[in-house]
Symmetry: C2
Subunit: 340 residues, 2 copies
Amino acid sequence: MEQAGQRRRAATLKDVAALAGVSVATASKALNGRDQVRAETRSRVLEAAQRISFTPNSVARGLLAGQTGTVGLLTNDLVGRFSIPILMGAEDAFGTGKTSVLLCDARGDSIRESYHLQALLSRRVDGLIVVGSDTDPRPSLGDMPVPVVYAYGPSEDPNDLSLVPDNVGAGSLMARHLLETGRSRIAHITGEAGYSAARDRTEGITRALDAAGLSLLGGEALYGSWSEAWGRAAAAVIIDRHPDVDALLCGSDQIARGALDALRDRGIPVPEKIAVAGFDNWEVLATGSRPQLTSIDMDLEVLGRTAAQRLFAAIDGQHDSGTQKLPCRLVVRGSTVPDP
Amino acid sequence: MEQAGQRRRAATLKDVAALAGVSVATASKALNGRDQVRAETRSRVLEAAQRISFTPNSVARGLLAGQTGTVGLLTNDLVGRFSIPILMGAEDAFGTGKTSVLLCDARGDSIRESYHLQALLSRRVDGLIVVGSDTDPRPSLGDMPVPVVYAYGPSEDPNDLSLVPDNVGAGSLMARHLLETGRSRIAHITGEAGYSAARDRTEGITRALDAAGLSLLGGEALYGSWSEAWGRAAAAVIIDRHPDVDALLCGSDQIARGALDALRDRGIPVPEKIAVAGFDNWEVLATGSRPQLTSIDMDLEVLGRTAAQRLFAAIDGQHDSGTQKLPCRLVVRGSTVPDP
DNA sequence: AAACCTAACGAAAAGGTTTTCAGCAAGGTA
DNA sequence: TACCTTGCTGAAAACCTTTTCGTTAGGTTT
C-alpha cells in the first residue's frame, strides 16, 4: 500500500506550444492538420506533442463545440440476455467513429431511470438509446433536448422512433419452416401471456397455420413460464393428450430444452417422430442440446447497430418516427431436420 | 420523416441568473447549496432553474475541476457471460454516486484496445477498470495518467492492482463439499487446459483430496472443452472405465449438464448413485436441469463492485497493488444432495 | 519606390461553470 | 461621527481548446 505521488497533471496544448516555441493557436492548427502552418513548424509541434505524450482534452473540445461525442445507453435489464447483443451492436457501430458510449442500467426502476437520465443529460450526451427489458411498449421519455431511439422495447408514443424485432414475422417464419418440412400437427408451448413477445409469436404462428388451412393442436397455445421445467411439463401433457403430435413449437430455447428432455424420457426420436423448435437462438442452449435446436435469431446485434445508425441520423437532423420492425432469422438445426 | 427544427440550446446558468435577476456567481452558489446566499435569493434562483429546466453542464464543471466523474470500463469479452456481472457490479457501485461509466469493448484485439484507451484518456476519465475475457494474466497497460484496476483477468505486472476470483479456493471448496457429503471416488472433467481457470480449479480440487488422503479417480483430470458435448462424452468414458465412481466434478456448468445427460441415458440416479457438480453457477443451466446443479458462484458482481471501490480509493490517492483473490461461493442444489 | 499581396503566426474570444476576492450596505460599537 | 462587523452579491479568473481576425514580414507588381 503505497501513497500515490500526486499524479502529474496531463499535458496540455499550452505545454506543447511552449515546448515547440509557438503559440497555442499555431499548435492547435498544426495538430489538427489546418493549412496555415509551415511544414517545418508543424513537424516541430508534432514532435513536441509526441515527446510529452499530449492527448487532446475532448472535454474542452466538447464544451466549445457543443457536441461531446458521447451517447447514452440506458438499459433496463443488463442481466438479461437481450440487452447485451443490442449493446454490442451499438457499441460496434459507434466504435468505428469517435463516439463513446455512456452506459447506465436502470433495472426497470423508473426512479433510477430518471436519475440516470439526469446524469446523462448533464453530461451533454449527443443522443440516447433506450433499451427495454422486453418488447412491451414503455412510457416515452417525452420531449428530450437530444434525439432518442428506443430499441427492443418500443415507446408508447408513436412520435418517438422505436426499433423492435418482428416477433409476428418470426412466428410465421418458424411455422412455415415446420410446414415445409412436412409437419402438420403442431403444438405451441410458450411463456407468460403477459409478454407481448409471447403473444406476437403466437399470432404469427397462428396466421401461418391459417394460411395453410391448419390450426394449432388443441386449438390454442399453452402459456406458462420461460423455463425448462415448464417445457418438460407442457410437452408431457401434450404428448399424452395428442399422441399424434408431430411438432412442438416452443416460445423460447429454454422451453424447447425442456421439451426435448421430456421426449427423451419417453424415447421419442427427435426430429424423426416429433420436431422441436425454439426461439431466441441462445447459443449455449441451442447448440448444447442433442439434437441441436432449430431456433429463431432476433438479430439483436443488427438491431443495436441499426439503432446507433438511426441515432446518428437523428443527431444530423434526420428525424424519423414510429415503431419499426426488424426481421428475424431462422436458424435450422437438427431438432427439426435430421442431420445428414 | 420530418426535419427536426433546430433543437433549442440547453439552458445555461447565465439564463437562470438573468431570469432570477442575479449574477451567475450567485446563481451557482444558490444551486450548489453554498451558504453565502440569502434564503429569499436562493429560492428565487431555484424557481428560475426549475422553470427553464436547467441542467448543469457537467462538461464545463469537469473542465474546471479536472475531474470528469466518469470512469472507463474496458472489457474484452462483452459477449461472454463473465464480463456482464462484473460490469453490473461496477455500474452499481458507481451508480449510487455521481460517476458514470464509459463502456468500450475491445474484443481481445489489442489494436482496438489501444484505440479505445486513447478515446477514454482524451475524455479524461478519472480511472479505468480493465476486464479480461478469462483469468489468464494479460499485459499491463503500463504507466497511465489515471489509476487502473484489472478485474477478472489480472495484469502481468505485480505493480498493478488486479482482482481475480480465487479459483484454487473454489476447487477446494467444491471438493470438500463432495467429501463432506460422503463421496470419495471423485472424477474431474474440465475444459481446455490452456485456461488458467481450469488448471487452478483442478489444483484446488487436488489439494483438498490430498488433504483427505485421496486422489482423483484415474489419477488426473480430463481436460477437453467447455461444452455439453464434452461433458457427455467424458462422463461416458469415466463410467465405463470406473464403474464405481461416485462423483463427477465438472469444470463448468455446461460440462456438468452434459454429464447429467449421459447419466440419465444410462439410468444412473443423481445424486443417489453419482453426484454431479459444476462451476460458474450459470443460472439458466444450473437451475434448468433435473436435478438442479450444485455449482460454484464466482460472485462476479461483488468482484465488479470491489473493483469500483478500489478504483475510487486509488483516485483518492490510496494506491494499492498486487493480484488479490476474491472468495467464491458454494451453491448447493439437488445434484449433490438429495432434495428433501 | 510605392502599393499590394500572401504566407505564417499570434492575440483574443468563446464555451459554462466554480471559486476567490472585492465591494457594498446595514447595523452595531466606541 | 468614525470605525468595525456581518451578510450578500457580483466581477473576474481559471479550466483547455478551437476559430476568427489582425499583424508581421517578405516578396511581387506597377
